[in-house]
Amino acid sequence: MAHPTQLGFQDAASPVMEELLHFHDHALMIVFMISTLVLYIIVAMVTTKLTNKYILDSQEIEIIWTVLPALILILIALPSLRILYLMDEINDPHLTIKAIGHQWYWSYEYTDYEELGFDSYMVPTQDLASGQFRLLDTDHRMVVPIESPIRMLISAEDVLHSWAVPSLGVKMDAVPGRLNQAAFIASRPGVFYGQCSEICGANQSFMPIVVEAVPLEHFEKWSSLMLEDA
């Protein structure tokens, strides 16, 4: 999860998010260099003693400041497109989970083998146990096995919602009457937090998402326990 006053991304928990982080670093360095260049030019222009009221044109500088931005844009676009197509690659999911947005909670259904479904409500602040995070923790977590491609089918029962988990690099709108598909692989075990990312009413901030990635044997034990409790 994000720590207080954090500005940057959270640590990546999926290969796609790792790629996005690296692309962001690449784009940020380019932005930094452009900003430095502009700042330097501003300082140089403000402090110069040279004046010339009769400059009409200059082919060389015009060529430079046309070609250079084009090159910079290509330098940004190529890795960006690579990641875009990477995110759309066809994978063979090991598990399909349906996430359905309601006002104001998420429900998850694991229907590949048995009919397992449960609701995930935010833990109210007054009911938080020691160590739980305010406005982030839920009563039931969405548990997934690590290193397995997971297919998420995301929809909504009432209004627009959005299922987002930043550390997995997933964000997908939940639209009533529509199934949106997203895929991810949790590279490492852990607990990953997200929040509803589409305006859906008064309690949009109070319907978080918690994904718990565990080794496969733990996932199997958890799903057996959930089925027994159901």
Partner: protein, 115 residues
């Protein structure tokens, strides 16, 4: 979990408020190389021509070129290492599966009938 919050990492130093040189791989080296390249280029130009303002321009150009060169060189090597790391991880995972078979990566004997 609450205790871990108190050990959150330092805020880090952000150049121009955006570039976190401590957390981003290769950023610190690139900026340091850029600073060194800038100093060297500006100083050499000044020693050769004694033009102060132009030396600053050359120094800045040296900063841009050195920073970007160091950055891309480091990032490409970083990317190659990450790819190798992924192959090794896959290989370690597959070693258990393929152990004792023809596809075992540690099996040095070639199967009969293969060229």
């Amino acid at each position: 979990m609450a205790g871990e919050e108190e050990q959150r990492p330092d805020k880090g130093f952000r150049l121009m408020g955006i570039l976190d040189v401590q957390k981003i791989p290769c950023a610190r080296e690139a900026i340091l190389h850029g600073a060194g390249g800038s100093l060297a280029a500006g100083l050499l130009y000044f020693l050769a021509t004694s033009r102060v303002k132009r030396s600053f321009d050359v120094g800045f150009a040296g900063f841009m070129v050195t920073t970007l060169g160091s950055w891309f060189y480091c990032r490409i090597n970083n990317a190659k290492l990450r790819m190798q790391q992924r192959f090794i991880q896959e290989g370690l995972k597959n070693k258990v599966v393929y152990e004792g078979t023809v596809r075992d990566p540690t099996n040095k004997e070639t199967p009969s009938g293969t060229p």
